[in-house]
């Protein structure tokens, strides 16, 4: 394989990973932007989403990787799975917020964050106890269609995943910019007190942020399974940390920043993994996290700065 083709291949892989991280990073960034909370439960909402999508496809009679769909049935199955998964994980996010985090709103210090760690552990272990520790072959009805560009390969599934991610981000963008709820979210992020006085129901806004973030995490979970062809109870941790790094890199609280950060982290993972060594990937990504926080705490696109003023 020539160097250019190798590079191209790694860029294709990196953008695919990045699209997934971006979806996941959006959940971190929206919740942080509104209530300044790092939500560790988000890691495993993503993992749950990946199982939920698999179970939904199973419920529709599609199991394993031998059954390949084309055309309208494929689009239908993917669309139904995507929407149902996002609804379920979105509601899971709302439930988490309502039961465990709303009572702690306004409690200073580390208590809310510690609660999200506990929630994350609960999700993680419930799935572990339910499905076991071995990784599961993922249901994958996508055809094996692919194109060769030089020696690099672009598969249909990658194009599809890019499409889903970009589509969701465009929808999110218009939701936040264009709808009343979206504007209420922006206002709450700027100044919760003023927003409340202007008649914004802050509780609903926070619940909405959890719903949207968790729904996107569900979509990312489904993408993970379709991309890697497996899922397991442990996938939330690494992917979650990388996505969080992406959110910080782009500028936490900043929605376009999360998308940019996601793509960059995806590229760093695939290029770094190939040209340096896979076993050092996490070290590289965490070093980026630390360096960004220390030298440019507002991230690439800025706004909510993580240092106290």
């Amino acid at each position: 394989m020539s160097f250019q083709d190798l590079l191209l291949q790694q860029i294709i892989n990196g953008v695919s990973l990045g699209a997934m991280y971006a979806l996941l990073a959006l959940g971190f960034t929206m919740v942080y932007g509104i209530i300044e909370l790092i939500n560790f439960a988000h890691f495993n909402v993503f993992m749950v989403g990946s199982f939920v999508a698999m179970w939904i496809m199973g419920a529709m009679g599609i199991v394993g990787q031998s059954e390949v769909l084309y055309g309208l049935p494929l689009v239908g199955v993917l669309l139904v799975t995507l929407i149902a998964t996002m609804l379920i994980t979105g509601l899971l996010g709302v439930l988490i917020e309502r039961v465990a985090l709303r009572p702690l709103r306004g409690v200073a210090g580390t208590a809310p964050m510690i609660t999200t760690i506990g929630l994350s552990y609960i999700l993680f272990n419930v799935i572990l106890l339910a499905v076991g520790a071995d990784s599961k072959n993922y249901t994958n009805p996508l055809p094996r269609t692919h194109w060769e560009i030089g020696e690099a390969v672009l598969r249909l599934r990658e194009l599809l995943l890019w499409g889903i991610s970009i589509g969701l981000m465009v929808v999110l963008h218009y939701f936040v910019r264009g709808t009343k709820m979206g504007k209420a979210m922006q206002a709450t992020a700027q100044d919760p007190e003023a927003a409340r006085m202007m008649g914004v129901d802050v509780d609903r806004v926070v619940a909405m942020a959890f719903f949207l973030g968790s729904a996107l995490a569900g979509a990312a979970g489904m993408i993970f399974g379709l991309y890697y062809n497996f899922t397991s109870f442990i996938i939330g941790y690494t992917a979650g940390l990388r996505a969080f790094t992406a959110a910080v890199l782009g500028g936490i609280g900043n929605i376009p920043g999360a998308m940019l950060g996601g793509i960059l982290i995806g590229l760093i993972e695939s290029l770094g993994g190939h040209f340096i060594a896979v076993r050092w990937t996490d070290v590289i990504i965490f070093s980026i996290l630390v360096l960004v926080l220390v030298f440019r705490p507002t991230g690439l696109l800025g706004r909510a700065a993580p240092t106290k003023s």
Binding site: E36, L37, I38, A100, P103, L104, V107, G109, T110, A111, P112, M113, I114, T115, I117, G118, L119, S120, Y121, I122, F124, N125, V126, L128, L129, Y237, L241, F244, T245, V248, R279, W280, D282, V283, F286, S287, L289, V290, L293, V294, P297, P306, T307, K308
Partner: protein, 676 residues
């Protein structure tokens, strides 16, 4: 401490000693507990039980170390296991066959010291590291502390939640490095053949009892260190940072330094335990130090009581013994129940596997329903009698014997504070614009102005909480522009806050003692060893606090053991002023000291402020109540939109047209009585 009338230091010290005597009962209880712990391996001869408890002791030490970081200083560290790993590998590498350089004459002196041995294997001359466990115990602590400081230095200025994620990353990196450097650590297979400790020719080997006793010894030592640190100048500074970083800094605490200290000491505990644990297991693998270990330690702290030394130890023992004893039994009972009832799920379930689920549930339930943990850091105090609660406002200023507030000599003819061209803008808004101000020693200067006129920003600029965008601040002839808040307190400027920034979960006494931070010198070593000098300093500081609290009569005195958050609004203001006074300020900045007080309380405080001036304190105050300003201010500065629009005596300023316009609006000026 319940007698409100004490005012003389001698009496106070006697009171403190009396309290120390009442602690004897508690000490006897602890001694009995310790004796029971000593006897345990003699009573329960089951090797497995002793081993389980020895492991629990190791985790209790780790949890105590993490508690210094999370519980005392309030820094959520999710990668604490990394320091455990560093300590473990430090000892493991220097006392096993993992690293064996070629033998050369360079090693001869080390062989003489017993640090290495000459090893001939397969015809090659090699070095075998045989550094003693007892030497490595402190060395590992130091190495871990070094990494703690190295890693903490760039990240500790980040807000708490970011620190959590960075520490999580660090906790992840260390095991990865261990896995990826097999020549040092034997990678994923793990380090083997780590030598066990020997003491006077006795080898610890694989028996559990020696490790149990060693662990017990270390735990007792670290409990002592933790308790002593907590109840010291250093510990109070940590708690202050945990409660309110900005107020801590404004009271003279160098927060970066103290956070680093907490991180370093916590890491040292972790490193030492790592060495102990590896010597006990005689092996080390990267998996022993991952994220689950850090979370488990956090669960122990949260369950026992964040910041509570006894709580953390109890929380750890409960969880460890739950895992190693109770869950196994419970699983067997469940299986038996399953066989009896024929329910298949019960027959197969393994509760030991679900320990992490239990951890998660503990975290959530404790946070929602009992954040202070099983054994809270603070025990509740007795409610005050009605007699003690009764307080009649009285005029006449300070009625107790109280010497000068500070010990500096002030040049009466030179300005104490000189501000030239001070400016600060936020984005496009000029909050303070080109401000000039001179404050002579012994005067009371009031800063007034409409809301948003830049008064509080002005205070923030003088006290270093915010860097100015331009201009210069000179205090007692020294340029203090750009100094940090703690440096400015040290030079003799103290302040109170408009929206009250007390350390809510610290007692009245502790709050005020934080004020003495810059006037005392006890460091961590002194806090732990408590030589006579440290005891004297502590007693003097406490006596001083009681003197200062005495200014407010029986408002604060009966409440010195109460938490600041239980105080009334007016008493919080009084405590803030006391805290500032304990720092021995020459210049006291009061930001709306009478806000939230009724008219009689306001008059009382006004007199007391005048009394402070008589004791050598120069006062700069922001005040909205013009009667207060008229009563005590020698000079009034009026700010509007960040600019000084008038200055002069209260009477002059009241006649100033521009002031009237700023306060009442243009039309009001037209209708106002003739100003001249």
């Amino acid at each position: 401490m319940s007698t409100p009338s004490i005012a003389r230091p001698a009496g106070l010290i006697a009171g403190l000693k009396e309290r120390a005597r009442s602690e004897w009962g508690r000490r006897v209880g602890l001694l009995l507990l310790f004796l029971a712990a000593l006897a345990f391996p003699l009573i329960d001869r089951n090797e497995g039980d002793i081993d389980a408890v020895a492991n629990a002791l190791a985790f209790a030490i780790l949890a105590l170390g993490l508690n210094i970081v999370v519980g005392f200083a309030g820094l959520l560290d999710l990668g604490y296991a990394a320091f455990f790993a560093i300590g473990a590998y430090t000892y493991g590498i220097f006392s096993s066959y993992q690293v064996q350089p070629e033998w050369s004459s360079f090693w001869v002196p080390f062989e003489y010291l017993g640090l290495v041995a000459h090893n001939t294997a397969n015809g090659r001359d090699l070095v075998h590291f045989t550094v003693s466990f007892w030497l490595m115990l402190p060395v590992s602590a130091l190495v871990a502390a070094f990494f703690g400081v190295l890693f903490g230095a760039p990240t500790l200025r980040l807000k708490g939640d970011y620190l959590a994620i960075v520490t999580l990353g660090f906790g992840e990196i260390v095991p990865i490095v261990a896995r990826n450097t097999p020549y040092l650590t034997n990678g994923a297979q793990g380090l083997n053949g780590v030598q066990s400790p020997t003491l006077f020719g006795y080898t610890f080997g694989v028996a559990s009892a020696p490790y149990y006793y060693l662990g017990l010894l270390l735990l007792v030592m670290l409990i002592l260190i933790s308790t002593r640190l907590k109840d010291s100048r250093v510990g109070r500074a940590w708690l202050a940072i945990r409660e309110d970083e900005i107020a801590a800094e404004a009271m003279g605490v160098d927060r970066t330094r103290l956070k680093l200290l907490a991180f370093g000491i916590g890491a040292a505990f972790g490193g030492m335990t790592g060495t102990f644990y590896v010597a006990k297991l005689q092996t080390a693998t990267p998996e022993m130090f991952g994220f689950p270990v850090s979370v488990m330690l956090l669960v122990m702290i949260v369950l026992g009581g964040t910041g509570s030394v006894a709580g953390v130890v109890v929380g750890t023992l409960i969880l460890q013994l739950l895992q190693s004893w109770f869950l196994q039994d419970l699983t067997q009972w469940t299986h038996a129940l399953g066989r009896m009832t024929g329910i298949g799920v019960l027959e197969r379930v393994d509760l030991v596997q679900s320990i992490e689920l239990i951890f998660g549930i503990i975290l959530v339930v404790m946070m929602l329903y009992r954040r202070q943990g099983l054994i809270p850091e603070r025990q509740s105090v007795k409610a005050l009698s009605l007699d003690q609660q009764a307080a009649t406002p009285s005029r006449g200023g300070i009625k107790v014997e109280l010497g000068p507030i500070h010990r500096k000599t002030v040049d009466r003819n030179r300005p104490l504070l000189e501000v030239r061209g001070l400016s600060r803008s936020f984005g496009g808004i000029q909050a303070v614009k080109n401000l000039d101000l001179t404050v002579m020693p012994g005067s009371i200067v009031a800063v007034i102005g409409p809301n948003g006129s830049g008064k509080t920003t002005f205070f923030n600029l003088i006290t270093g909480l915010m860097p100015p965008s331009g201009g210069k601040v000179t205090f007692a002839g020294e340029d203090i522009t750009g100094l940090g808040p703690h440096q400015i307190v040290e030079r003799g400027i103290a302040r109170t806050f408009q929206n009250l920034r007390l350390f809510a979960n610290m007692t009245v006494m502790e709050n005020a003692l934080v004020g003495a931070h810059t006037r005392t010198t006890t460091g961590p070593m002194g806090a732990v060893l408590r030589p006579p000098g440290v005891k004297r300093e502590e007693l003097a500081a406490r006596a001083r606090v009681l003197e200062v609290l005495g200014i407010f009569g029986n408002r604060l005195m009966p409440r010195i053991e109460h938490l600041a958050r239980t105080l009334s609004y007016a008493n919080r203001r009084r405590l803030e002023i006391s805290r500032a006074l304990v720092s021995e300020p020459q210049l006291l900045l009061l930001d709306e000291p009478t806000a939230g007080m009724n008219p009689t309380e306001t008059l009382e405080l006004t007199d007391q402020i005048r009394g402070l001036r008589e004791r050598g304190v120069t006062i700069l105050l922001i005040e909205h109540k013009l009667n207060v300003v008229n009563e005590i201010a020698d000079e009034v500065i009026v700010l509007d939109h960040g600019e000084k629009i008038a200055e002069g005596s209260p009477a002059e300023v009241q006649r100033n047209e521009e002031v009237l316009r700023a306060y009442l609006g243009r039309t009001a000026t037209a209708g106002a009585p003739a100003a001249s």
